[in-house]
Amino acid sequence: MSVLVAFVAAVLVGCGTWLLLQRRLSRIIIGVGLLGHAGNMLLMVSGGRRGTAPLIGTGDPAGFSDPLPQALALTAIVITFGITLFLLALGFRSWQLTNDDVVEDDVEDRFIARQQRVDRDIADEILAEAAQAAEEDRR
């Protein structure tokens, strides 16, 4: 690994993070794509040395690049590709439903956050009742 490769991976991660931290699914997908490239970049150099293509009969096996990370990277690329397609489908469905691909906040969480729930909590009910009972008791 060289400093340059680590730096490129770092830039990819930085840009990917920047894209992840907002609401558009299509940007998020691009961000995830950049992160994936960073992972592949690191996998690619993880064998520790550069070499010729690992094909038996094309050269000295000692000069081959490490084939295992290549296989791992290939698997990772394909898996990320598959999941990204699914994410695209989610964006597509979101467009069907809302005409946009914004990732909205969770409604229930927002209700709780705004203390807006109209339905009174069972606990509240019970507590109020108990408080009343205690009050009567005090007379």
């Binding site: 992972g39 990204t84 969770d106 069972i122 606990a123």
Partner: protein, 499 residues
Amino acid sequence: MTALIPLPIAIPLLAAAISVIVGRSRQAQRVIGLVALASTTAISIALLIGADRDGILVAQSGGWPAPIGISLVVDRLSGIMLVTSALMLLAVLIFAIGQGGVERQHVAFHPMYLVLASGVAASLTTGDLFNLFVAFEMMLAASYVLITMGGRADQVRSGMTYVVISLVASTFFIVVLALVYTATGTVNFADLAGRIPQLPQGTQVMFAVALLVVFGIKAGLFPLFFWLPDSYPTAPGPVTAIFAGLLTKVGVYAIIRTQTLLFPAEAQLGTLLLVVASLTMAVGVFGAIAQDDMKRILSFHIVSQIGYMIFALGLFTVAGLAAAVFYTFNNIILKTSLLLVTGLVERRGGSSRLSEVGGLVRGAPLLGLMFALPALSLAGLPPFGGFVAKFAVFDAGVQSSEWVVVGVAAFVSLLTLYSMTKIWAGAFWGDPDDRPRQRPDTSDTLGGPALMMASTAAVVVIGVAVMIFARPLYSLSERAAEDLLEPIRYVSAVMGGRP
């Protein structure tokens, strides 16, 4: 016996492939799914017995000796988890078939569910860090489809959160994998266990923390769990049940496995785990108290209880690990049964919101019983299995003199009890007439369709069986814990004669 090891992965996968092809016939899909999961259950039980009797079982895929090929390993911990998950998967499948709903309407339900089963089994048996990534992806990919099955707006919304966060976590997993291979030149667990101790200590701790964080996202540790209570409740009923029961616990399994096997004592994260565990327990249970929807309450409890498991793990003693193992499988059973009951409540009362249902115990006393047993167990009240689990955790904590965490755990346990009584008082007690209700279905005298009731009852009975057979099960957990604290057993079983 070792020939059986790949089958819990392969059989559901084969069934999934066939199930995709025969997509037009729901009947055929059902038969395939049931046969596959039933045989998986039987094989898992055989594997557990084998692993307990003969020690760690290893199969090398492709016949290549470790670390060239991918090793599949069943030790006692894997075996326990395999059996528990297979039982739950089977029960929930029967429940789903009884419910109709998404199972009946959607071609893809059965294949996805079977892939999920296969992915879970693969995660639990693999002895390879990269294969663990692939297994997680199988499991997660299937879960993405299942959680959005139906394509409703709220599902798409929560699905986006769930998928994006899981995907980010997976990407970080890749980065960590790349770095692990960079530093050690291997991805095989047993091989790593020999190589990681040679690294400088800072690097060891770095990897320990990085893996903890990566799996912590899947397991739902504080502060990485926020996606969980938002997304699980939107899935179709049976899917929520199996997610709640299994998925996070597979993350916990991965944490237990990697933290005990890969890292030597001086790189273990005892204190960090204890702090994280306390926060997870507390924040989870506070979240549960703030909720109104049964599904959401129970989802927050998932988080809270993960804290107990991590607490027990963080002690790194035999008692602690035994408690962690016992707590984990018991919790899988409890969570599954509670969410299945929630599904029935939803059907019976027309909603799973406590403000919209009530008085169910009068019309459906059996439902009340099926909720009460696991709920009391979850709250750790004796003499249920949950009590034994909680007691084991406390006992181990006291042994290690971790007073503060034991105190937090006790307090959280009380709040869990409060939360369960809140559900009980809200859904099962009270007057249903003064609550807005929707589409209540009170046609069944039992409390729900027979097949749904039967499968739920079966899971509840399994939970009760944990109580009755607590002694052999705890002994088993203890033996599993001893294995975990002696990683050399695992290493020599996988590597054979090799160094």
